[in-house]
């Protein structure tokens, strides 16, 4: 579904992402790990158009998307969450989800202006989708809470909810478990699995080893911008280079 070939980005003398080749198959959960500063978020920024690569290609469903603006990439089918919780703070949970449905709603301007039937139908569809996600996240009780008033864990879930609402087929999750306690992480794992079961391809960055080892089909390891390993969780946990890269860090292996 997604493929990168020789993807590289350099800032001045610093090469943040260096000749990375990888591919993500439809319907799989791919994890990307690596020590801090390895270039993971930078990699995501390249994939989603927040950065333009210095060289290399990014092929999404066969089409090169390198350098396109984020909104364009989003409309092609990729959706991402951010390292710092990204939600619409002043809107309620319900409104957040409705906004997420923005991508695929095509109501004509005139229809809305006059509140014609086309508008009513579309509105119903949006609300249905938002309702489903609300149920899926089990946040019905917080429907009318302002997003900024939610607990951290809830905000993170909402973030994923918004991504889901956009009905994108490819989801990029940037450290979804950051700052979560073990219980929240468990819930998150389940949620991610359920999302995949709906047919959505997931590519995630994480530091939380238990999560990564637990749900990823395959893992890619980045260090200093280079890909140093790729394989199943079991293979990765045994890979000497990976272990070395992490020596001295505090992550634990499954």
């Amino acid at each position: 579904m997604l493929e990168t070939k020789g993807l590289t980005v350099a800032f001045g003398g610093l090469v943040a992402v260096n000749q990375v080749d990888l591919s993500v198959s439809p319907g799989e959960i791919l994890g990307m790990i690596g020590p801090n500063g390895a270039g993971k978020t930078t990699f995501f920024n390249l994939l989603t158009g927040f950065l333009t690569p210095t060289s290399g290609q990014i092929l999404f469903k066969g089409k090169n998307i390198a350098g396109l603006p984020p909104s364009r990439i989003a409309s092609l089918g990729i959706c991402r969450t951010f390292q710092i919780t990204s939600i619409f703070p002043g809107l309620t949970v319900w409104e957040n989800l409705l906004t997420g449905t923005h991508c695929w709603t095509q109501t004509r301007f005139v229809d809305t202006l006059l509140r014609s039937r086309g508008y009513a139908e579309q509105r119903r569809e949006m609300e249905k989708q938002a309702g489903e996600i609300l149920e899926f996240l089990r946040m019905e009780g917080q429907k009318d809470t302002r997003a900024r008033n939610l607990s951290y864990g809830d905000q993170r879930r909402l973030e994923i909810g918004i991504a889901l609402a956009s009905r994108r087929e490819f989801l990029l999750l940037d450290e979804p478990a950051a700052g979560m306690n073990p219980e929240e992480t468990q819930t998150l794992s389940q949620v991610i699995r359920q999302i995949r079961d709906k047919g959505i391809t997931i590519f995630l960055i994480e530091h939380h080893m238990q999560l990564v080892m637990g749900i990823c089909d395959r893992i890619v390891v980045l260090n200093y911008g280079r890909k140093i390993a790729e394989g199943t969780p079991l293979e990765i946990s045994r890979n000497p280079q990976v272990i070395e890269a992490y020596l001295g860090k505090e992550e634990e292996f499954a």
Partner: protein, 325 residues
């Protein structure tokens, strides 16, 4: 719209219609007209600042710009009012695009200050291009608004009463348009960008163009106000570009309730009427207005419409009418 809401709005509109009969003196009617005219400035700012969250400090200058454009169209090209208004809207959109394009390359307060810079430049151009604008002396003798078909039927909006209804209808139509606009995909885009620009981009909203449309729309609405102003007061001068007016417009929008539909209307009305009410104590007038302003800001954190929303309890409001609480 449920029964209660319908009743409320009908009542409100009825009240607005009846106002000129409550206040029959030409002077008070003049104030009513001005209040409605200034709501355009507030509504325009509300689109870019309230809904889209971009602090366009320089936007209110488009009010004066619209006034000048409309006057020049009438005086130099002999356009009838309807055409002047239309021309003003089109040209305001054009200027909005030209000025918006560089400004929107920047974000946050830098965007705001750049729009302010452009506003100041406009001010100085208008003050100094004497051949066109007569500089500080201003333009006079602007024909009053009138609608007509050929030479046979001319309806002139002479006098405060007729003008009041003209601008009231225009203002309410604009309000209606905006309330529907905020339920469209575009309107939702405004709010999304206000709340989180990067996230909006990630879900397919194109920040630059959506902001540009908001900005241009804001310019058009503000410019309309200017046009109505010019044909009512029949005199425009560079004074209208002053910084004070910019501050006043922000006051109107914020105290009314940013990002609400009726907020700018209420704020615009209050802060046009208030200084007049205090005219009796001329010397202390600004002090009183200043105090009222401070009090409103302190005690009405979400503006007047915000308080109204609170009093109505957590009633279900259309999502996009809410402001950044």
């Amino acid at each position: 719209m449920n029964r209660r809401k319908l009743l409320f709005f009908s009542g409100l509109i009825l009240l607005l219609i009846l106002l000129p009969w409550v206040f029959q003196a030409a002077y008070t009617r003049h104030i009513l007209v001005m209040a409605v005219i200034y709501t355009f400035s507030a509504m325009g700012l509300n689109v870019i600042f309230g809904f889209a969250g971009q602090t366009a400090f320089g936007l209110p200058a488009f009010f004066a710009l619209g006034a000048y454009i409309s006057s020049l169209l009438a005086l130099k090209l002999g356009f009838p009012f309807g055409l002047c208004l239309l021309g003003t809207m089109v040209l305001s959109a054009g200027f909005g695009f030209i000025i918006g394009y560089p400004c929107l390359q920047l974000r946050g307060i830098y965007f705001g200050i750049t729009t302010m810079a452009f506003a100041q430049i406009l001010y100085y151009i208008v003050s100094n291009w004497v051949e066109l604008t007569r500089g500080p002396m201003g333009l006079v003798g602007i024909p009053p608004a009138s609608f007509g078909l050929g030479d046979h039927f001319q309806f002139v909006f002479k006098g405060e009463l007729r003008y009041y209804f003209l601008v009231l209808v225009a203002s309410l139509l604009t309000l209606f348009f905006l309330s529907r606009l905020m339920e469209t995909r575009l309107g939702r885009g405004f709010v999304a960008i206000r709340e989180n620009q990067d996230l909006s981009a990630s879900i397919g909203i194109h920040p630059f163009w959506v902001k540009m449309i908001a900005f241009m729309l804001a310019c058009v609405i503000t410019g309309m106000g200017g046009s109505f102003y010019a044909h009512f007061v029949k005199f425009v001068s560079p004074i209208e570009f002053q910084w004070y007016f910019i501050g006043l417009t922000f006051i109107m929008v914020i105290t009314g309730g940013i990002g609400t539909i009726w907020g700018p209307f209420i704020g615009g009305a209050i802060f046009t009427v208030l200084p007049e009410v205090f005219r009796a104590v001329e010397t202390y007038r600004n002090i009183l207005v200043g105090v009222v302003l401070i009090v409103i800001v302190i005690f009405f954190p979400e503006g007047i419409m915000g308080k109204v929303a609170q009093w109505r309890g957590k009633r279900k409001q259309p999502a996009w009418e809410r402001k950044n609480a």
